[in-house]
C-alpha cells in the first residue's frame, strides 16, 4: 500500500511541476534559514557552557559606587595571589591576562598578535576545557614558555609539530613552544590563541615596577581573575571573603567605593554591565523571524495544495467510491507531504552548508560561528521535517473530512477561495512587509550611527597605534610627520573621539577637597587634539603640554554638570582630575562643544580634555584630501627604518568608528537577508496562486475576451485580488512595524525618528513586487487566443 502511495505521490508531484518546484524551493529556503538561525542561537547560547565545571567557574567583577554604578571586570595580580592562598572554598584560581598586543618574530618574519595573546598559567587549563594535543601543561608554569593553538601554530610555522621551537617576543626575548592546544571549540569569551606563561610576564611586557605584583590597586580590565569553586553555592561566601581580603591587604576605605562580585563565566557573554552584552533579544528576534519565514513557506504549501483541490477533489471522490477509507486517503496526502518536505530538507542542507561558509566569510568575519554537533543537527532537521509535514497536513485532513463522494466527483467541492486561505495569504504578506519596514528602519539607523559625528570630524584621519617600546623614537616620528606636506595636523593621543576604550575618573573641582561622586570621561591627547579631530573650542584657550602645571578643557555637559551656564565663569577654576593627572592640580582653561567620546550607544558624558603622555597609545594623522595611499606608502617606509622590528599597522579612522557598531551592523545584514528571503517566499506563493487562478479562470478569460475585453482589462481583473491582499497586509503590518520599531529605536541613545516615507516605501516595494510577480503569467493568459481556451469544451 505504501508503495502505491509513493508512486501516486511522485506522479502527482511531477505532474504539477511548477507547484512542486515552488513548494520545494520555498520550503528549502525556509528550512535552511531555520537551521542557520538555530545554529547561530545554539552557538551563542553555548558560550562558555561546554567547560566541565561551567556551573562553578566565576570571574571577579566590581562596581565603583559613584552617582551611577561604574561596572568593570578584572583585578590585580596581588588580589589573585591572595585569593589563591587565603580562600579555601576556591578550588583553582588563575590570572588570565588576555588581549595582549605583542610583536613576534618567527624565522625572521614579524607577526602582530592582534589581541590574540594572553599570559596565564597551567591552572587556567584546569579550570577551562581546552585540551592539549601535545606537550605537558605543567611546563606553562615555567618562565619563557608559550603554548599555541593548533590553528595559530599552523599559521606561524606551517605545521603543528612545533614543540621546542623558539619565538622571539619584541625581537628581544626568546620563548619556547611547550604545548599545542585543541581549538576546535570557539565559543568562549575567554580564549586566546597564544598563551605565554604568566611567569614570563615581567620580561615580556617590560614591567619594571614591583607594584604590578604587590599593589592591590594595580588593576586592569584585561587582567581576568578566573576561579572554580568546590561548591557553586559558596559564591556569596567567597564574595564576602574577597571583601575581607581587600580590607585586610589593601584598605578598608576601598570598600566604601568598591563592591566586589563573582560573575558566572557562562553569564559573561550576555551580561550588559561587565560582559559582552550579546542581546538575548536579538536571538529571540532571530528565532521568531526563522519561525515566521517557515510559517510563510508552509502557507504557500497549504495554499497551493488547497488550490489543487480543483484537480484533486475528483480523484479523492473516486478513491472514496473505490472503497478508500478516510485514513487511507489521509495517509496518501501525508506521504506526499513527507516526500515533498524531505526533498526540501535535503535541498535545505545543501543551502545551509553553502550559506554557512559564506556567512562565516562575509557576515561574521572575525567572530565565525561553529556547526552544531551532527546528532543535534539531524534531530532539529527531523523535527523541522515532521513539523512541516504535520502543519501542512492540517489542510488536507480538513478537506477530506468535508469531502462527500458525490460532490467530490461532480467537482462541486471546488468552492471559491475561502476565508481561511485569504487570511493566510494576507498574514504571510504582513510578515514579509513587516520585515521590509524593519530592514528600511534598521538600515537607516545603523547608517546614522556609523556616519554621524557628534561634535568632531572624522574625515581624512589615519590612526597609527604606537606601543610602549616605540616612544623612545617619538621625536623622530614627530619630525617626519611635521615635514610631510600631505599631513595637515597630527596628534599623539590615547583615545580619539568615538572610541571603544575610554578612561574616566572623579575630580575635585575648584577649591573643594572632596572628590565628586560622579566621574567624567577623559579625552587624553596633546595640544593638536582639537585641530586634528575638528573639535570646536567655544571659549578660552587650547591646553598646554605641561604635566607639572596641567591645563584642562571641559565640554559643555561638564560645564552644566558643575552648575555653570556661562563658559567665562568657569575658566580659571582649579580641577584635580584623578587618573588624568594624579600628581598635580590643574586649571580649566577653556570649554569645547560636546563631542562623543564613545559610540553613539552612550549619551555624551561630562568630559575633560588634557595632556598625559604616559597614556598615549596612538598617533592620529589628518591628511589632505585624497592623498592617503601615497601617504601610507611613505609612512610605511619611514616606519620600517625607525622600527625595523615592528609591523606597520594603521586604521582609517572612519572604519575604526564603524567597527564600534559591529553588533548593529550584523543585525542590519541579518535583517536584510531575512527580508529578502521572506520576499522570495511570498513571490513563490504568488506565482503558485496566479497559476492556479489562471487555470481556474481560463474559460472566463476566454469568454470575456470574446465579449471584447482588452488585455489590460484582463490583467486588471487578475491583479485586483492580489493588490487588495497586499494592501490589507500592509494595513496590518504598518502599525505593528511602527510599534515594534519605535520600541527598538528607543533603546538607542541617539536614533532616527520613524517617518512616513519608510512606510510608503514598504508599500511601494510590496505592490511593485506583486505586480512584477504576477505580470508574466497574467499577460500570457490575457494574450492567449480565446479560441484555444474555449475549444476544450
Amino acid at each position: 500500500m505504501i508503495k502505491h502511495f509513493f508512486i501516486t505521490a511522485i506522479r502527482h508531484l511531477s505532474k504539477h511541476k511548477i507547484h512542486t518546484l515552488l513548494n520545494v524551493w520555498g520550503l528549502a529556503l525556509a528550512i535552511a534559514c531555520c537551521l542557520f538561525i538555530y545554529t547561530f542561537i545554539v552557538y551563542q547560547l553555548g558560550f562558555d557552557r561546554f567547560h566541565q565545571k561551567s556551573d562553578r567557574i566565576f570571574m571577579v567583577v566590581q562596581d565603583l559606587k559613584l552617582e551611577q554604578l561604574e561596572h568593570s571586570k578584572g583585578g590585580s595580580y596581588a588580589m589573585y595571589t591572595a585569593i589563591e592562598k587565603e580562600i579555601p572554598q576556591v578550588e583553582h584560581v588563575t590570572l588570565y591576562m588576555d588581549k595582549q598586543e605583542l610583536t613576534l618574530k618567527i624565522d625572521n618574519k614579524l607577526f602582530k598578535t592582534e589581541g590574540k595573546a594572553a599570559f596565564t598559567n597551567a591552572t587556567y587549563f584546569e579550570i577551562l576545557n581546552f585540551p592539549w594535543l601535545r606537550g605537558d601543561v605543567q611546563q606553562l608554569n615555567e618562565p619563557n614558555t608559550v603554548a599555541l593553538t593548533k590553528s595559530i601554530a599552523e599559521r606561524y610555522f606551517g605545521t603543528a609539530d612545533v614543540i621546542g621551537k623558539t619565538i622571539w617576543v619584541e625581537s628581544q626575548h626568546p620563548v619556547t613552544v611547550v604545548g599545542i592546544i585543541d581549538d576546535s571549540r570557539k565559543n568562549s569569551d575567554f580564549r586566546s590563541e597564544i598563551y605565554f606563561s604568566l611567569a614570563s610576564v615581567k620580561g615580556l611586557k617590560g614591567i619594571t615596577e614591583d607594584s604590578f605584583f604587590n599593589n592591590w590597586g594595580y588593576t586592569h580590565t584585561s587582567n581576568n581573575i578566573l576561579m572554580s569553586l568546590h561548591q557553586p553555592n559558596t559564591k556569596s561566601l567567597v564574595e564576602k571573603s574577597l571583601h575581607d581580603l581587600v580590607a585586610k591587604h589593601w584598605h578598608k576605605d576601598v570598600l566604601e567605593y568598591y563592591n566586589y562580585k563573582l560573575l558566572g563565566l557562562p553569564e559573561f557573554h550576555f551580561d550588559k554591565d561587565y560582559g559582552k552584552g550579546t542581546q538575548k533579544s536579538l536571538l529571540i528576534i532571530l528565532g521568531s523571524i526563522g519561525l515566521g519565514i517557515l510559517g510563510m513557506a508552509c502557507v504557500n504549501y497549504i495554499n497551493m495544495t488547497s488550490a489543487q483541490q480543483l484537480y484533486r477533489s475528483t480523484e479523492m471522490g473516486i478513491r472514496k467510491a473505490l472503497g478508500g477509507t478516510k485514513k487511507q486517503l489521509f495517509l496518501q496526502f501525508t506521504i506526499e507531504t513527507l516526500l515533498l518536505s524531505l526533498i526540501a530538507l535535503i535541498l535545505a542542507w545543501l543551502l545551509f552548508f553553502i550559506a554557512f561558509d559564506w556567512a562565516n566569510k562575509y557576515l561574521f568575519l572575525t567572530d565565525p560561528i561553529q556547526r552544531i554537533p551532527l546528532g543535534s543537527f539531524l534531530m532539529i532537521s527531523l523535527l523541522l521535517w515532521w513539523g512541516i509535514a504535520l502543519l501542512t497536513s492540517i489542510y488536507p485532513s480538513l478537506f477530506l473530512k468535508q469531502l462527500h463522494i458525490q460532490t467530490g466527483i461532480k467537482k462541486l467541492a471546488l468552492g471559491r477561495w475561502n476565508f481561511t486561505q485569504r487570511t493566510l495569504v494576507v498574514l504571510q504578506n504582513s510578515i514579509a512587509l513587516l520585515l521590509v519596514t524593519g530592514t528600511i528602519v534598521i538600515v537607516s539607523q545603523v547608517r546614522y550611527l556609523k556616519n554621524t559625528d557628534k561634535g568632531f570630524d572624522r574625515s581624512s584621519v589615519l590612526i597609527i597605534p604606537i606601543k610602549n617600546q616605540m616612544w623612545a623614537q617619538k621625536e623622530k616620528v614627530s619630525n617626519l610627520l611635521r615635514e610631510n606636506p600631505a599631513i595637515i595636523s597630527y596628534s599623539f593621543c590615547d583615545n580619539p573621539p568615538s572610541y571603544d576604550k575610554v578612561w574616566g575618573g572623579t575630580v575635585q573641582f575648584d577649591d573643594s577637597t572632596e572628590w565628586e561622586t560622579w566621574a567624567p570621561r577623559f579625552a587624553i591627547g596633546d595640544s593638536s587634539y582639537l585641530s586634528t579631530f575638528g573639535i570646536h573650542l567655544l571659549a578660552g584657550d587650547n591646553f598646554n603640554q605641561d604635566m607639572e602645571n596641567p591645563q584642562f578643557l571641559i565640554n559643555e555637559t561638564m560645564l552644566h554638570k558643575l552648575g555653570y551656564t556661562q563658559a567665562q565663569d568657569i575658566i580659571g577654576k582649579n580641577l584635580m582630575a584623578g587618573g588624568l593627572n594624579d600628581q598635580h592640580k590643574g586649571k580649566i582653561i577653556g570649554v569645547v562643544a560636546d563631542f562623543s567620546t564613545h559610540s553613539l550607544n552612550e549619551a555624551i558624558a561630562p568630559t575633560v580634555l588634557g595632556y598625559n603622555e604616559t597614556r598615549f597609545k596612538n598617533v592620529a594623522i589628518k591628511y589632505a584630501g585624497t592623498a592617503s595611499s601615497r601617504l601610507l606608502n611613505t609612512l610605511e617606509q619611514q616606519w620600517k627604518i625607525l622600527y625595523p622590528n615592528e609591523v606597520f599597522e594603521y586604521h582609517f579612522y572612519d572604519e575604526q568608528i564603524a567597527n564600534l557598531y559591529k553588533k548593529e551592523a550584523l543585525l542590519e545584514k541579518l535583517i536584510w537577508i531575512a527580508a529578502s528571503l521572506s520576499i522570495i517566499i511570498s513571490i513563490f506563493g504568488f506565482l503558485g496562486l496566479i497559476s492556479v487562478i489562471i487555470a481556474k479562470r481560463t474559460k472566463e478569460i476566454g469568454i470575456r475576451k470574446v465579449l471584447g475585453s482588452s488585455n489590460v482589462g484582463i490583467f486588471q481583473l487578475l491583479a485586483k485580488d492580489f493588490i487588495r491582499w497586499i494592501l490589507i497586509a500592509f494595513l496590518i503590518s504598518a502599525p505593528i512595524a511602527w510599534y515594534l520599531l519605535s520600541k527598538w529605536l528607543e533603546d538607542f541613545t541617539y536614533h532616527i525618528t520613524l517617518s512616513w516615507w519608510m512606510f510608503v516605501l514598504t508599500g511601494i516595494i510590496g505592490i511593485l513586487t506583486t505586480l512584477l510577480t504576477i505580470s508574466f503569467q497574467s499577460f500570457k493568459a490575457a494574450k492567449t487566443n480565446p479560441v484555444n481556451s474555449l475549444r476544450d469544451e
Binding site: 500500500m1 502505491h4 508512486i7 501516486t8 506522479r11 502527482h12 505532474k15 475528483t314 480523484e315 471522490g317 473516486i318 478513491r319 467510491a321 473505490l322 472503497g323 478508500g324 477509507t325 487511507q328 463522494i405 458525490q406 466527483i409
Partner: protein
Amino acid sequence: MIKLENIFKWYQVGGARSFVLKDINLHIEQGDFVSIMGPSGSGKSTLLNVIGLLDEPNEGKYYFMGEDVLALKAKKRAALFQSHMGYVFQSYHLIDELTVYENIETPLIYKNLSSKERKAIVADMLDRFGIVGKKDLFPSQLSGGQQQIVGIARALAGSPKLLLADEPTGNLNSKQGEDIMSLFKQLNEDGVTIIQVTHSEKNAEYGRRTINMLDGQLKDI
C-alpha cells in the same frame, strides 16, 4: 438481495423541500439484471447512489442481504461496499496519474490484499478483458471505450456480487456500447447481480427487467 422500503430523498431548496426520491419501494433478487430508465432529472442516478451507498436517503429503510444498512456505522458500511459492490461511472473516472494496471489494483489496495493476491487478480482481469497489452498506459492514452472497459475491470476486481452502472455506455459509440452490454450479460450469467441506468431501449433489453422512473417515483412496468 436488496430491499428498499419507503425511501425518500429531498433537497432543501429555498425553504421548500424538493423531492428527488418519493416513497421508493423496490425488491431486487440475487442474480437479477435490472435496467433503470426514465427522463432526465427523474432521480435515477440518485437511486443508484443510494443503493451503492454513495448517498444517503433522508427517510426509509434499506436492507442489503438482510442487513439494515442505514443503521450501520460508516466503517462497517465501507467494508460492506468494498466486499460486495462494484461501481461503473458514466465518465469512467479513472485516476489520471495511475496506469491501467494501477487503476485496477487500487480498490484491492484499499481492501488490504497482499501484493501477491493483487497481482493474481489484476493479471486475471487484464486477461479477461483483453487489455494485457495496455496495462502500462495511462488513461489519457486510451480511447473512451477502452477506458470504460478498464473502469469495469476495476469495478469487478474486488469480485463484487453487485455491479452498479450509471449510464456505462453514455459516452461511447454504439459499437462500443454493444460490446459493454454483452459483457454485462455474460457477467450476469456468471452470477453477478447488475443494476444499470440507461437511456437506451436497446441497452435496457439486455437486462432481465426494466424499472421506469418519473419524478422520483417508480412506475409499474
